[in-house]
């Protein structure tokens, strides 16, 4: 416990941590400020206009459905080719709501999902960098050797560092998510439109936020493991950057050019996106045939499995290695 306290104090005293948190707040500040600047509270004119656009949309949907059904009655085969998704593909007219067409207003219910996914990505990025530097600096400076003279049990030492780090990341991510969502709600409430936010909506948003927090924690744990294995902050960051450049970007282009479908299952990003954003559909043919899916569950399992494997390797290696 003493060890965890010391590690929390070490993490929070680091200038790098401070800079990263300031960076995080700056990104947040900019996003919030631009949102605020581009949003106005809809007046009655805006509502009239939105209501009108919604009505037009409804009419066109009803028209589309009618056309479609007529085509099917006439020539089923030709219609199947023309309306591949069926007659309900364009959406249900009853779902069309005027707030979808509020031009200048920030509508919380509409936008927060995308914003929360963005939050998950950047929380994970900052967590990764902070974690890599936290342990990497210790490994390369020899600070860890000093500490081992005090607490020679290597597994519990590394465990305490990991616990301190992930604990701080979970706590910070949670608080920051509350601040973030709260700030956007406030923007919508004061100079935008909150929209239809029922219990189901909040439940879904809560689950999404938790997955974002889980992802940032996993990112911190992976960075911790990589920096422990590689013994340097820069090495851990290099591995991550290298992976994304060479594999996620480079190999994707090669697959694309070679027409080798499906390639989605070979990329970590597919699983990350499935885990946070929900089931990811991909196709095994260029014509969109043979649709397959990476489920949220399998995405989550890949994230958890990767983190566990990296941590296991880091602990096993650190327990045995010579520290000079």
């Amino acid at each position: 416990m003493n060890l965890v306290r010391a590690e929390v104090s070490r993490l929070l005293s680091r200038r790098f941590t401070h800079i990263m948190v300031i960076g995080l707040l700056a990104v947040f500040g900019i996003t919030a400020a631009t949102t605020l600047a581009s949003s106005t509270r809809p007046g009655s004119d805006a509502w009239v206009a939105a209501e009108q656009t919604a009505a037009e949309r409804r009419t066109s949907l009803i028209q589309f459905k009618a056309n479609c059904e007529a085509a099917f009655r006439q020539d089923k085969e030709a219609a199947e080719a023309a309306f591949a998704g069926g007659c309900d593909a364009a959406g249900d007219p009853a779902d069309v709501r005027p707030e979808h067409f509020l031009e200048d207003a920030f509508v919380f219910e509409q936008e927060i999902r995308g914003l929360t996914i963005f939050l998950a990505v950047y929380l994970s990025f900052f967590a990764f960098v902070i974690a890599a530097s936290f342990i990497g600096a210790e490994m390369s400076s020899g600070g860890i050797t000093n500490l081992l003279l005090w607490r020679p049990q290597r597994s519990s030492l590394l465990g305490a560092k990991l616990a301190a780090l992930t604990g701080c990341v979970v706590l910070f991510s949670t608080l920051f998510t509350v601040l973030y969502v709260g700030a956007f709600y406030l923007i919508a409430y004061t100079s935008g439109w909150t929209g239809d936010t029922g219990a189901a909506f909040w439940g879904e948003l809560l689950a999404l936020s938790w997955r974002g927090i889980a992802l940032s924690t996993a990112a911190a744990a992976c960075a911790f493991a990589l920096a422990t294995l590689a013994r340097h902050t820069a090495a851990a960051l290099g591995i991550a950057v290298g992976y994304f450049l060479v594999w996620e970007a480079g190999a994707r282009i090669v697959f694309e050019i070679g027409g080798m479908l499906p390639y989605d299952p070979y990329f970590l990003s597919s699983y990350l996106s499935a885990f946070v954003g929900g089931d990811l559909k991909y196709w095994s043919g260029l014509d969109g045939s043979g649709d397959l899916v990476i489920t949220r569950l399998s995405g989550g399992m890949v994230v958890a499995g990767l983190t566990a494997a990296l941590l296991a390797a880091a602990f096993a290696n650190f327990r045995r290695r010579d520290l000079t």
Partner: protein, 335 residues
């Protein structure tokens, strides 16, 4: 007397994919007894730091048995709170201040906060404690390292070249600190290249060369083992004095205008022989060996003209070298 550190047959070879392997320790033995200030000497690259690292659980030995404070090295964790140590120039996370560095260690070890200031004062860093380690000089970092070892109020203090970079006053303070600690019953194991310091503060020494012990025992005994019984003599007429002394059965070398006389019963015999012949001594000094000459002889590192001695390449030497001399009278008495 009880042994605080016992090492026997310690072997450590460093393996690397890219470099050839290096045998840093090749069957090394060491015993440090309770309450001693024990000097640990050896040329560069002879394996001192490797020994201390292995003892403290930072390196995994290939072979050998180690006990520290009556505990097998595998359970070092149980006694770590009683052992204060610095190994080589310790590295700190330099953006933190000296005080913060010690506070983190004190928190990790569950020690009261007051110890931090006590340790900082003991090493003379009190007034600079709030500056980042980044701006510390070499000697200040070394002082901080010693403070980190003192923080635990250890029973056993292991210091690897603590005087590295210290100014004369720092070295003096270090010497006083050692004697004070020894007086309080703390056992100190001290590796150093400052042989005159070692001679002043240590009760006994272990000398290591290429991963093996080449001498050990109380300082006086190690020195006595190398005492040739020679005397340096200066007189006006060197030639005649040499003739007279040889006639009296002594062995005489002449160098630098002085006589080196061996094989006599004592200084009185020399002055008597020469005085009776009317030759009056201008100098008569018994040549007692100092630690430096013993060290240079034992480790084969005595400089020769035009050939700077080179740091040895660590390789495994089997079977055991036969130049190991056991000067530890105590262990002989016990045997």
């Amino acid at each position: 007397m009880t042994a605080v550190i016992e090492i026997s047959g310690l072997c450590k070879t460093f393996h690397s994919l890219w470099r050839e392997e290096k045998t840093a320790l090749d069957g090394f033995d060491m015993v440090v007894e309770k309450g001693q200030v024990h000097g640990f000497l050896g040329p560069n690259g002879s394996g001192k730091t490797t020994t201390l690292r292995t003892l403290l659980g930072l390196l995994r030995p290939d072979e050998g048995v180690m006990r520290i404070l009556d505990t097998p090295s595998a359970d070092f964790g149980d006694v770590a709170h009683r052992v204060g140590a610095i190994v080589e120039s310790p590295a700190f996370f330099t953006p933190f201040s000296g005080r913060k560095t010690l506070q983190l260690l004190a928190t990790a070890g569950g020690l009261p906060k007051g110890r931090v200031d006590e340790a900082l004062t003991a090493v003379g860093l009190r007034d600079r404690a709030n500056e980042p380690v980044k701006v510390y000089s070499l000697g200040m970092r070394q002082r901080l390292a010693v403070a980190s070892a003192l923080l635990k109020r250890p029973e056993l203090l292991i210091l690897d070249e603590p005087a590295n970079g210290l100014d004369p006053s720092g070295i003096h303070a270090m010497r006083t600190l050692m004697s004070d600690l020894a007086a309080q019953g703390v056992t100190v194991l001290l590796s150093s290249h400052l042989l005159s310091e070692i001679e002043q503060v240590c009760d006994s020494v272990t000398i290591i060369d290429r991963g093996r012990r080449v001498a050990h025992g109380p300082v006086s005994v190690v020195l006595a083992g190398h005492d040739t019984g020679e005397h340096l003599v200066r007189v006006a007429d060197t030639e005649q004095a040499a003739r007279l002394l040889r006639a009296a059965g002594a062995t005489v070398r002449i160098a630098d205008g002085a006589l080196f006389v061996g094989g006599v019963s004592g200084p009185a015999a020399i002055s008597e022989t020469l005085g009776q012949a009317g030759l009056w001594l201008t100098e008569l000094t018994p040549l007692t060996p100092d630690l430096e000459s013993v060290f240079l002889d034992l480790t084969g590192t005595r400089p020769v003209p035009d050939a700077p001695p080179q740091v040895a390449v660590p390789t495994r030497r089997r079977p055991p070298a036969d130049n190991v001399i056991d000067l530890d009278v105590r262990s002989e008495e016990q045997a």
